[in-house]
């Protein structure tokens, strides 16, 4: 709290409005307002200014935020965390390698590794790298398909879903059989998302389950998943394809993605929740 006794009356009354005066001064100012018409009139003007300013500045929040700005933020790459720390570790590692014992160990490993490499090379060994590279376009295309589907289906009003939300049990058994992935319907109502039904899609020639939700801004957010045979778990990966935002991840042999408008700020949060519920 501030001692305002040396300030002009309008500044003191303004601080009273904000609760930024000490207790004894608050009482003094309230007495003044009650007994002095000029002080009361000044206080009323300050209050009126506050109210009208609040209304006007609330209007600013209703202006649409440029979509390009949202995309730019989502696409901005953060720096590598602990970069300086890893530099320190690297220099420590390099200096350690210069020790005679370490040099000897490295030479030994080189000989052993070279020997193993020779025998594997003579056999039918196939390196992993080309396999991983071959999988990359598959991953890209499944998300392309999902984004394309979303652009079409999210606009549907009467025919948004193939199966309505009233048939929740049927949706679970139908999609489990069709996609080959067991799941539970995530309850996203606490996040303002209402379940609107489900569809069966095809991406990369494989069946994909799509669960559709509508948020309070009337936008469609969908959860899609398919079996992809890759058993690695990984973190969340956010991708923007023009107006569509996708947050994808793998769990076991299943690929998941939460898809919605790229301007939707909560896609990652929704994906995190879905990953624990589905």
């Amino acid at each position: 709290m501030n001692d305002l006794r040396k300030q002009p009356l309008d500044v003191r009354l303004s601080a009273l409005l904000d609760g930024e005066v000490q207790h004894d001064e608050k009482e003094e100012l309230e007495r003044l307002i009650a007994t002095n018409s000029e002080a009361r009139e000044l206080y009323d003007r300050l209050k009126r200014g506050s109210e009208i300013g609040n209304i006007a500045f609330e209007e600013f929040l209703k202006e649409p935020v440029p979509l390009a700005l949202v995309r730019k933020i989502k696409k901005t790459e953060p720096p590598q965390q602990n970069a300086s720390r890893s530099n320190g570790l690297r220099s420590h590692f390099v200096s350690a390698l210069m020790q005679p014992q370490a040099m000897a160990a490295c030479l030994a490993l080189l000989v052993v590794g070279g020997g193993i490499g020779y025998f594997l090379g003579a056999g039918s060994y196939v390196p992993d790298v080309p396999v991983q590279m071959a999988q990359a376009p598959v991953q890209k295309n499944w998300l392309d398909d999902i984004a394309a589907y979303h652009r079409v289906y999210a606009r549907q009003q009467r025919h948004l879903a193939e199966v309505p939300p009233s048939e929740a049990d049927h949706i679970v058994s139908w999609l489990t059989d069709s996609v080959g992935v067991g799941f539970k319907l995530p309850d996203l109502a606490p996040d303002g998302l209402e379940f609107k039904g489900a569809r069966l899609l095809v991406a990369q020639g494989k069946p994909v389950a799509q669960l559709l939700y509508r948020n309070q801004e009337n936008d469609i957010i969908a959860i899609c998943f398919m079996k992809n045979g890759d058993s690695t778990d990984d973190g969340f990966d956010e991708t923007i394809k023009d107006d569509i935002g996708l947050v994808s991840w793998h769990k076991g042999a299943v690929a998941y993605v939460v898809v919605g408008p790229s301007s939707e700020a909560t896609l990652t949060k929704i994906a995190e929740k879905v990953s624990t519920q589905i």
């Binding site: 309008d10 904000d18 003007r45 609040n54 209304i55 700005l69 989502k74 953060p78 973190g235």
Partner: protein
């Protein structure tokens, strides 16, 4: 392009804060084009420097302080003195409301008048009166003494009140 949850969080938070950050930027730049450029620069900087935010207090306070600092740098670069190129609110045309007195039109005109107020007044008003920052927080964000926050706030309120009073008297 795997992102950690922490990085996703700051980008998500920034997107959520965009309308407010943009509004604050408007009080500094007083035109939408400059405000959008400023917000974009702020957001990029916030993401690349997100490891510097200690996570204490309100994220928007950190963002606002960065916005203000970047704008001060920009003004210096342009060699434009603070407040130059704007019209004092007292000299601005009075509010004109159509016969129906439609609220949207009224609010729009009021926005224009607010944007015509000197930079120092509208940014203090937004931080304290609209967003509920304390005088100390506001002083820290804007890099000015608490006494200046108080006097600017009072001046802003009286100017806003005068705009409305003038309008009411004309309509009567």
């Amino acid at each position: 392009m795997h992102q950690t949850a922490a990085y996703n969080d700051i980008r998500r938070d920034l997107v959520s804060l965009l309308p407010k950050v943009r509004r604050f930027a408007m009080t500094l730049t007083r035109n939408a084009s400059d405000a959008d450029d400023l917000v974009q620069e702020v957001c990029e900087r916030a993401i690349t420097k997100s490891h510097l935010w200690n996570g204490e207090g309100r994220l928007e306070s950190w963002i606002y302080a960065m916005t203000r600092n970047l704008w001060v740098d920009e003004v210096r670069k342009r060699k434009v003195r603070s407040g130059a190129g704007t019209v004092d609110a007292g000299e601005q045309n009075e509010l004109i409301v159509d016969a129906a007195g439609e609220k949207a039109v009224y609010a729009h005109q009021l926005n224009k008048m607010i944007m015509s107020m000197p930079e120092g007044l509208s940014s203090v008003f937004v931080l304290v009166n609209v967003e509920g920052h304390s005088y100390k927080e506001t002083a820290d964000i804007l890099g000015i003494p608490i006494g200046t926050v108080m006097s600017r706030l009072s001046t802003a309120r009286l100017r806003l009140s005068a705009m409305v009073t003038g309008d009411t008297e004309r309509r009567a």
